[in-house]
């Protein structure tokens, strides 16, 4: 056998070929399905929403925004006055307050929350947030005063509200925070006491009641309005 014949025989091994299905399958497996790039395909993809999640998938977009909002509002619940998320917390509180029809109770609940904020600030010793927290507290107390001014009829409830407020204020003061007096609330209470005194003076009172009324007048003169209101409550 010549060398040429031998080489010719060897070259017959070229008939060994891989299975064509395997060739195609392997190529796809290795590189993934080839996606030809073209601007028309790109525009088509934009329509299908494959390029930007938010563009053409409103359900996803809505869900994502909703999740972000829920997350933000959730985080905001731990915020205190002076924090950037505190505005969100106030919005949530106002939303929750809609369910409470009694304006005085609603505002009193907010005062309660502001006092909690103050307590938290005192615990954390976060001095920078003290001033905005006291301002927020005074604002809510003013709101309570406004709602009392609008609904001065129920003396029993007013007395209860003021009692609760004073108790909470005492707790905060015990933590070493000076929150000051709310002039607006004092004025409203003063007006209510004055109005009640005038009303009682027109009524026929027993001797004992007369003495009580005099004590109320003294307390009014001393600007001890909450105590005066308590005394008035005893006269009814």
């Amino acid at each position: 056998m010549t060398e040429k014949q031998l080489i010719s025989k060897i070259k017959k091994l070229r008939n060994i070929k891989p299975d064509q299905n395997w060739v195609v399958f392997t190529k796809d497996n290795i590189m993934g399905k080839e996606k030809k790039f073209s601007f028309s395909a790109l525009i088509e993809d934009f329509y299908k929403g494959e390029r930007f999640v938010f563009n053409h998938k409103p359900a996803f977009a809505f869900l994502t925004v909703l999740l972000i909002m829920v997350g933000l509002f959730g985080f905001a619940q731990n915020s205190v006055p002076g924090d950037s998320l505190f505005t969100l917390k106030k919005i949530t509180e106002k939303g929750q307050g809609v369910l409470e029809k009694d304006e005085v109770r609603r505002n009193l609940a907010l005062v309660d929350k502001r006092l909690d904020d103050l307590a938290k600030i005192a615990e954390d010793n976060d001095v920078n947030k003290l001033a905005p927290a006291i301002n927020e507290y005074q604002e809510t107390v003013s709101d309570v005063a406004d709602s009392l001014e609008d609904n001065p009829e129920n003396i029993q409830e007013i007395v209860g509200t003021i009692k609760q407020l004073e108790e909470k204020q005492d707790k905060i003061k015990a933590l070493g925070i000076e929150i000051g007096e709310n002039e607006k609330l004092d004025n409203v209470l003063g007006q209510i006491v004055e109005s009640e005194i005038n009303d009682l003076e027109t009524k026929t009172l027993s001797e004992e009641q007369e003495q009580e009324l005099n004590q109320v007048k003294e307390l009014f003169e001393q600007e001890e309005y909450s105590e005066a209101l308590e005394k008035i409550l005893n006269l009814y």
């Binding site: 031998l6 017959k12 091994l13 891989p18 392997t26 080839e34 030809k36």
Partner: protein
């Protein structure tokens, strides 16, 4: 994923296109090279797939450059075949009886005519030194030039020529002995 597609598609698409061409050009040769070394269709397919997968992983990496894809593919395939034998402890000398070397898509008549020649040469190749077998497959079956073989095997062209001459002589001797 969508964002990635949008921001870096052109470069990736180019890489795919080029590697796709490389795959089409060499898949048959690499498969044949591996098959003749391992004598099993399944193992040849596995090693061949792994060869192209490794090459693609290097190819798509922007920081690495493949100067000669053909030589690179042969080098990966050779190393994988070596690993295969090392792992399994198998001998490269396998009887032709255990493997069919005929393309199943060929006509029956042609297949019969070639069968004896093919199996004879396949059997002889199984009896010579693995390095001789390798160089014969590269040069006469897969049409690699002396220079290309030299680059793949990292030898001089003179050494390749000498080895090829000895390999052919070895085959001739085996045929004469048979």
């Amino acid at each position: 994923m969508s964002y990635l597609l949008y921001f870096c598609p052109i470069k990736m698409q180019q890489s795919r296109k080029i590697f796709s061409q490389i795959y089409d050009a060499y898949v048959e040769k690499i498969y044949r090279f591996v098959f003749l070394k391992v004598n099993s269709q399944d193992i040849a397919q596995d090693i061949c797939s792994e060869t192209f997968l490794r090459a693609w992983n290097v190819f798509k990496d922007e920081n690495r450059k493949i100067e000669n894809p053909q030589a690179f593919l042969y080098q990966i395939a050779r190393n994988l075949v070596i690993d295969h034998y090392r792992e399994k402890g198998r001998s490269q000398v396998v009887s032709a009886e255990y493997a069919s070397v005929i393309d199943p898509t060929q006509d029956l008549e042609e297949k019969t005519l070639q069968d004896s020649d093919l199996n004879a040469i396949y059997s002889i190749l199984g009896q010579i030194k693995p390095e001789y077998k390798e160089i014969i497959i590269m040069h006469y079956v897969n049409d690699l030039s002396i220079a290309e073989i030299a680059e793949t095997l990292e030898k001089t062209q003179g050494a390749v020529r000498t080895m090829l001459h000895r390999a052919l002589k070895s085959v001739k001797n085996k045929i004469e002995q048979a």
